[in-house]
Symmetry: D3
Subunit: 246 residues, 6 copies
């Protein structure tokens, strides 16, 4: 089974470059069972990073272009961004299941506790997540999100501090918002080995959305389940990007 | 006051061409009070029409490009598509209020009746609207949507039949889903003079989303109200489209 | 177009007297576009002020009497009290759209941010508003209300202090209840030029419910929209007040 | 213990006259346990019957006047109208518990089944009930209402037909709306011995709101429970009706 | 009328022994009106106390065994545990109304104020109550629960301290969670005369769930109301416990 | 990794006997990836089948007894009954993740479509599922359930008819309740190879809850995730069953 972790931004053109794709692939492959081959791709021409609602929209067409250009579709696709950009669009266009890490994490968290809290990086993401939760109809099970406010590119140099701040926020959400399960709220946090640290300090289950999405993608593909064509009908007419017009 | 009706698709490149922009502008201007000047623009490079969730995503970057390329911002922007594509992105980027016709229509309908029903053109839009309603937190006030299933380009040649089918669906929604206010569920329906016909046949208030959005845009701009920067923070870094990269 | 701002209390008989009607009329007229003529009326025999749920009920019959006694109906009516008293009753009886300032403000606020907070004058109003919000089905978008606790008649002598306290409460609601849009929670606050001050201090959009109601009334009347007769059926039999009985 | 069944309309001045008060009193007293004395009063100057939202507002001041004019307060008050008019106002003003038949019936029904359906007399009441249910926050437990459409004054002459139509509607609500408990949706239906007939025909529990309200009033008074002064604060200033003004 | 207060645990085998049954019976009988005879029974073989979700499940079969072994059914049964264990099961099996103290208390509280707060003994109960409230569809009317953290067996020796801590928590829930009605969150608290103390200190109505359940049971039985067989169908086949198998 | 499919009833003592355990084990093992070993156990002394809410409670203590008697805990436990009996109790007592097939199926279905419909065997299960959905806070995503009404023991002899009836009900739920994803609503249906047939006839994704639960259990165990101890605290005192008391 091949699972594609599709990053909607243009990592190759950014400061981390192509090696970051390989780094993430190796980590994901390490989590995967033997019958799964993980591929990681980014979206040429997409934003260098995705830190706003605007960029969540700007990344979708390059991601669609990258996906439809592949010679053959994988068995499942993970949208490699915590805001689940373009989920509905991909579900319409592609024939394999599409997993959004935020959506998958919230549904898994709901099987571990009553109310889920998210620890994220930037304040600006919080209202986006709130909107997603309402759209999912899961507001009664959501405790909200708090941000550690460390720039993405500085995360790796401050692992201990990041874990410590994240744990403090988590405990604050437990106290003030009755959170009892945690989700890491950014894909960058997913590849730092930080979930375990926070779990240990807080005593709460901590979901790593990249790993969770991988498991969800595998679960759907293994069962042969694909999104409903009533909710996500195949577009009647071909999607033609401007640059392809004759 | 200048209100821009920004069509997210590329009407100019489509079958109706530039005259359609002018036709819509004249109708909108006819609805506007004297202190409002309406401008209509489309999005070069956007989809020729927007009939799927996928196209709702594909149209956003061209729409952002068109809007940010304008020499000066209008006093309010209406997103000229009933699915409200890119609302959150535009609210982050621009400094004037952004009106989504579906959102505006649902909030206005809620002041006229208990439960709103939508008459739309294609079945494929229905789950998109459902998702939007949940995201707005208005599910208790929403009766659902039904589609007349007439291709967009054939609408104009069948006005009587369209009005008749739409009225029948509306009455079916009254009976089975307890709808008591109607909203036309496609911007194409908004410029055909059809709302009055349906209102007469059903005895229900019928909201034309283009007109409603115009009034909402005017209302926000007149009061000097702009979206909250806590919900829609200005992007920290400049939005750079791939084609602009050095 | 004539819009009537109908105060449900008996201002003329109260300490401020008839000049207050004219003062409010001038302010409202100043906000209105050229095609709108604003009229302001009060309700003879109504409560001198409306500060409790009880008075919200006591004011309705005098308000209905005042409205039905008018030689001709206006194009839209604003109920000039933030608790929206008698909204459903007026919508049944009259043939023009009826606007409740609280209802209109909440629906407009929902287009500016995710969760609305209300700054009001007296604690006693807070549960009334809560009940209204549940009735509107908008609880997921409501952050709650807080009261500055300054007697209504002392408001005008303490504008700076009122603005300052209101801003502090607003920021407290941002912090503790995740409010991101504000609504002034009393019509008395609407005619003091205070919304702008609070907006400046808090950085949030602040809705003045009188102005918002005026715009909403204008928007409905301009579109020829009237409440649904399924939700608000015309009373089958004439409404006969006791004093009119033969 | 004295429980007052306060009719908000002016039954004495209507076609049924004062004997109807005594008839209802006898029925209520027949349901009451030995320690309860039931009194029935109407509201002089109130509407002759209450069949619209408008009349639900018009009846409140006469009802308040009637209640505050009593030499001493009863141990509990039942508002004798299914739309629960003025509940919040009475709870502010009076010092004893106030029971609304609709509210009481819905909360009791929720302990007998999952979703409650209401069989009422006139279509016009249905949206009023819907609004009440949203205000109570009980929408997930409400299956809706249907009307038999028999004029109130003709009810008594058609008991068999009324029971038969009501049972048919009830079964329709079971089928189409998943109702599994019923509530009679009008106080006129409460004094006709009809609940048992419908229960027998439908096999469902049928709540008579007058009896249910009596039991709820007794239960609250027996426990010494009175409404919260945080939700229903005593009005700060005396409620002065216009006719009492010097 | 006979009302059975069925304790799901095995009090007789525990430290308090059979006299505790008689003590509770006397208190309940003291609250009951003259036409009610209260019986109290426990469940031989049930847990000695019920302090976890696990014990709420373990107690149900012994409770069913105890109830079905009675020579004749009472007119109503109260499940004598605040977590309402086995409510749905008993409603299926028995032919008389079954009252859950938590469910009954929340529905009664909703008629006294807007949001109910629960003061309980142990933290571990809080998520169980949360889950029950969601299941009841009453989340919009629930302010949450807080625990005084005093072991059950030490309650009686510390009445003043218990009342004082409970009052402090109640006021904290008023401040932080907008509670305005209280419910004692454990049946052990119900037989200590503590509700009145807390009501006096907090100025809020305080519902004693044992008394409230008694009144609710009496109200249902007096009206001849029994649970809906659509929601709680009689089991098609006989319930055969393992120990009864041949 | 060892995953235990724990049937809460006493299959061995029933008509199908021990071979049914082995039959199910083989099917489950066939779905599992190589790194998973599936074990199937039943609950000696539990009900022979679980067809009512009552039996869902009666099965929990034998299931707990069976689970705690195992020499060592598996890596995850699936409760092998669609009503998810005892989920909260097992989550408190055991140290590995516990998966409820209904809960897991609904959360997976929510990633495939907007509203989930359940096709089940007996009408009596429908209100139990409704209650579970409210408890999960997922009502906005649930379209309801319908029953084919074929006795469990006759299922295997009528596979074609069962698939045909189930498909008809599914399409009825699509039409009348806007279902767009299906879940088989009984574990007996899960081991008949019927999901694929229904998927083919309806064109909808059909979730087999046994397979889905297996994948969910594997996903949780692989990530080392265990239920939150805030939601499901370990019982403070040992759980002592009556028969173990000295």
């Amino acid at each position: 089974m091949e699972i594609l972790y599709q990053i909607p931004g243009d990592v190759t053109a950014g400061p981390l470059g192509a090696p970051e794709l390989e780094r993430r692939r190796r980590i994901l492959q390490g989590w995967a069972p033997d019958d799964v081959r993980v591929d990681v791709a980014d979206a040429p021409g997409g934003p260098l990073s995705i830190e706003s609602h605007a960029e969540e929209f700007l990344c979708v067409p390059p991601m669609i272009a990258a996906l439809t250009a592949r010679p053959r579709q994988p068995d499942a696709v993970i949208v490699g961004c915590f805001g689940d950009p373009g989920l509905g669009a991909l579900r319409e266009i592609l024939d394999c299941p599409i997993v959004g890490p935020f959506e998958a994490a919230l549904h898994m968290a709901a099987q571990l506790g009553a109310r889920t809290g998210v620890v994220t990086i930037l304040d600006s993401v919080i209202p986006v997540l709130d909107h997603l939760v309402r759209g999912m109809g899961l507001s009664l099970r959501y405790a909200g999100a708090m941000a550690i406010d460390v720039p993405v590119l500085e995360l790796r140099n401050n692992l201990e501090e990041v874990a410590s701040r994240a744990s403090d926020l988590a405990l604050e959400m437990v106290r003030a918002k009755e959170a009892d399960v945690l989700v890491l709220g950014c894909m960058s946090l997913s590849f730092l080995g930080i979930a375990e640290k926070i779990a240990r300090r807080t005593g709460l289950p901590v979901i790593n959305p990249a790993w969770c999405a991988l498991e969800s993608a595998r679960a759907l593909a293994a069962q042969g389940l694909v999104q409903s064509r009533r909710t996500y009908p195949k577009p009647r007419k071909a999607i033609v990007m401007a640059e392809e017009r004759p």
